[in-house]
Symmetry: C2
Subunit: 267 residues, 2 copies
Amino acid sequence: MSNINAPLAQGEISAPTIELIHRHRSIRRYKSDPVSSELVETIVAAAQRSSTSSNLQTYSVVAVTDPTKRHRLAELCGNQRHIREAPVFLAWCADWHRLARACEIQGYRPVTNYVESFLIAAVDAAIAMQTAALAAESLGLGMCFIGGIRNDPAAVAELLQLPQLVFPISGMTLGWPAEEPIFKPRLPLKAVLHWEHYDTSREDEALREYDRIMQETGIYKGRQVTVKEGEPEHETYGWLEHSARRASQPARTHLRRVLQEMGFDLE
Amino acid sequence: MSNINAPLAQGEISAPTIELIHRHRSIRRYKSDPVSSELVETIVAAAQRSSTSSNLQTYSVVAVTDPTKRHRLAELCGNQRHIREAPVFLAWCADWHRLARACEIQGYRPVTNYVESFLIAAVDAAIAMQTAALAAESLGLGMCFIGGIRNDPAAVAELLQLPQLVFPISGMTLGWPAEEPIFKPRLPLKAVLHWEHYDTSREDEALREYDRIMQETGIYKGRQVTVKEGEPEHETYGWLEHSARRASQPARTHLRRVLQEMGFDLE
């Protein structure tokens, strides 16, 4: 076996990639400097080395640099300024079009109508795009996933000329960072990692501990509560209230219809 | 800005993490040496630093080391020998249970019945598990995703005591590699990466080029075609036939029903 990745000595469980992973922050302000097509190719080629179910590689990515198109994408994805500003927008898509073509060439009929058909492609796309994120960050680039690409997937499909059976899972802005955002604390490990079986016994303790930490960061701001001279104040709250508000709002309720129109029946 | 990740000089577009990504192979044979709980914690803590939609962190992971449980998981996931042999099995799950608890504490009603509700959690889980994969590989460990966890998700949920709204997206075997598999070629970059819009004009060329390459590897073997003295021969084919056969087979057709039973209506 190669020793390049030899296990580390006890007490120093780390590695360059783990250090890189811990430096991740989503970047929402970019310099105007371009990102070369060679860099984008390097990043997508790296993403291609990721695991993919049965080597079917059921994903594609559309790289958009054209400013007019990026402005339109920004409108479609919730008017996020960094989509207009980042030199590159990557649209990561679940892609059964290529498999359907393989079936056509070989004389088979593709089966795309089950939840599993779509899920396998969505997971392939998500795995590839996260590898791309880390590859980009290892080159000094910044990125941010854009779930807003699912706000109006039909319009995105029209803009990017996506054929049937190609559905945008997530966007990604890509560029040279012009900000150094704070590190957002995550849930305590014990809330996410379970041993041998799922254990809810320490859940409330973990959630309340994390809630306090997030409350103290002041990251989550809600409605304006008072107005001082030119200095509006907003209510702040912790992760529980932030998450409960999000989780209780119906979001993107059209996806089932759009997916059906694109060829994924989710039976 | 920090210079730790300064862009590389022209002509040497790489970085330690990109090199690590390019060394990835799924590992299906493991040494019997254990993987310490500290290593698993390091890997999952790294996964937690990944992007997650609105910081909702809608995923969990169950780490299984108990041999009896791993044998049962192997049976449930398609009888893959490496699930029995790898010292650790990680079950990566889409998790809305925690969000539902946050809603309960704060007095909101969680909305879990849309495709988007499930998709956001599936993508969060896939992003986290791929970060975990790279973190594990950077420590010299080997891993393999186990889509077979979706063969019988209800039985897996019972075995791992997953509560409602927790659905296993993928398993992962984890251990010290005892094999050095070949690198599987991937589709040509031009088949996966599109510029400005999705372009099918070079698709067939790319697919046939890749088909030839995969045919030459002899990786895809089908039915037994002749029998020499104790040496059965199998038909070999390329990626087109491999993929067309897979894509034309209904697979895991029960997922919609199981997801509904778990609380995800996919409306």
